[in-house]
Amino acid sequence: MVQQKESVTLGMWVFLAQEVMFFGGLFMAYLLYRVWYPAAWAEGSQELDVMLGGINTVVLIGSSLTMAFAVRCAQLGQNKATRNWLLLTLVLGLVFVVIKGFEYYHKFEMHHIPGADFVFHGPNADQIQIFLSLYFMMTGLHALHMLIGFGILAWIAGMAHKGRFSPEYYSHVEMAGLYWHFVDIVWIFLFPLLYLVDRVHHVG
């Protein structure tokens, strides 16, 4: 049992290393074009709703906190509390995704979805399309990870509901926690990189 738990923990960290490299390719593309097109990056960033992005950041950090409580309760074998914290985490995650959905919808209305329907006026239109392409791919993949996380949270909450966890047996919750924190951390990088580019020169 101990060996099994150690294996699962190591496996999770290896998986997360893989995830870092997966997102890394997008960050590399972001870095290159940010250096090439600083003006377009600043202008494109203005198109994003920093208010909604900011609220989402708070929501997601809050969900990491509730997730940490869930892990702690599972370690103590408090199944009911574990279940409740997990469900609260899930609700906060849903809030994030719904807000994200509104942001996407707004982009759709503005014809700011890159591709055939993309409309943007000004000299930097092509470069801003690259910015928004990366924005959608990065936040889209992040949101996809959140959706997968919902499935995991629901499953683990179901296990907690059945009273399956004990101080000797809680690695499911711990692994779900690692995954969830990882998804949060990705957002912690995405938010400033996408929403706060050079904002100081444009305030007011």
Partner: protein, 537 residues
Amino acid sequence: MTTPAYPELNYLNATHGIRSWLLTKDHKRIALLYLISVTVFFGLGGMFAGLIRLELTTPAGDLLAADTYNKMFTMHGIVMIFFFLIPSIPAILGNFLIPIMIGAKDLAFPRINLLSWYIYIIGGSFTLYAIVVGGVDTGWTFYTPYSTSASNTNVLPTGIGIFITGFSSILTGLNFIVTIHRMRAPGLTWFRLPLFVWAHYATSLIQILGTPVVAITVLMLAAERAFGIGIFNPALGGDPVLFQHLFWFYSHPAVYIMILPAMGVISELVACFSRKPIFGYSFVAFSSLAIAVFGFLVWAHHMFVAGISPYAAMVFSFLSFAVAIPSAVKTFNWAATMYKGAIWLASPMIFVFGFLGLFTIGGLTGLFLASLGTDIHIHDTYFVVAHFHYIMVGGAIMGYLAGIHFYWPKITGRMYPEAWAKFSALAVFVGFNLTFFPQFILGYMGMPRRYHTYPPEFQVLNVLSSAGATILAVGYSIPLIYLLWSLKYGKVAGNNPWGATGLEWKTQSPPLTENFTETPIVTEEPYDYARQGAHVG
């Protein structure tokens, strides 16, 4: 010595029916599932190669139209690299052997292991679909913007296939890393591990850290092609060279995903058939890790003529020379192991000699390409084609065949006809050299790759190359026949037909589902041939 009896109960007959195979969690059965599917893809890739060589027997493009020819070499590359070479040794021999070599019952995550095979099959199906409905013509490198905005072939399904299959490779690597860390038998310290396991550990690191990068790159490419966005399209402000950087960041290390496991096989066999402990064990072990690390720092040597800065080119040239050092360390240690050894020229060892010769030529010609000046002359010529085939076919497939022959008695419990195996090894070696050595000369004389026509003065060498390919095809086909034959008629092998050291030879052949009746305890140093003597049986 009496003939050993075939074990009544083993992993092959433990359960029956197709379901017991398709839902198996036994690493050995999953290895066989991989063996079958990988062999199918090898046949497919070989067929494309045959058509390419057939077209090139004459200077005119008389067999295949230019478009069709483009598809042939593209699909040859894609099938051989992503669906044959990358899974071959790790997913078949690694899967089968690593748990047994470390005295474990199975891999750390048996269900993930089975999942990885299904992912491989799903990815393979997408690619097969792309082939059936008309193929792809971008070259296996998918260079943008051709692949995203010009090609009218099936880039999307192929890309999706490769994206999916990548996760099969990632999960295999993840499983190996955790297994090697956590599941070793008592007494089996890191420095008592077989070098095969070290090689796979290094390979797994590359699979974990490299494959996700190509996955996200293919995803960006697919998005660009599907929606017409411009991340890699210079007409829309994107940078095609960024694609090349991301692509080669994986695809250079991918070469080591193919060759490192083969090197692991070679280390085992050289020690066994020289009846000596491996010379410089820790150097061989750490050189695998060194290759994995340095392998990530050389990718831009594929881009010397793509407009990268000369300073970057100089650094990448230097690092590419440096990565040759750990490979040379291995080669010298193998030579030193054989020196004054009592070499037994059994058929697997003939394949090993084939590997050593071909890999050395492939490695040394790589240095020509790592040099900035010569690379400009031979870039995108048949010199490059010959070079990487010496590594990936001469090296990796020779190592694969050596391993399949060496471990066949363990996998199936039966011996194959030795004389035929030697003949096959010889045919592969001769056929291979005849196919690819002329291509060095053709490339040096300036014949570019990826064209279906060429000037008449190149015909003699091209005919030689095609003739060699025929011999090579024979060499690859015979094992298919006699290995299948051996399943029924082969002599019973016994636990240890080669008199080799290692836990895998202490258990029965074929092993029980749980590998060992009780967890083994390791007290010996690795490759202790001096103490053990040459006990066969």
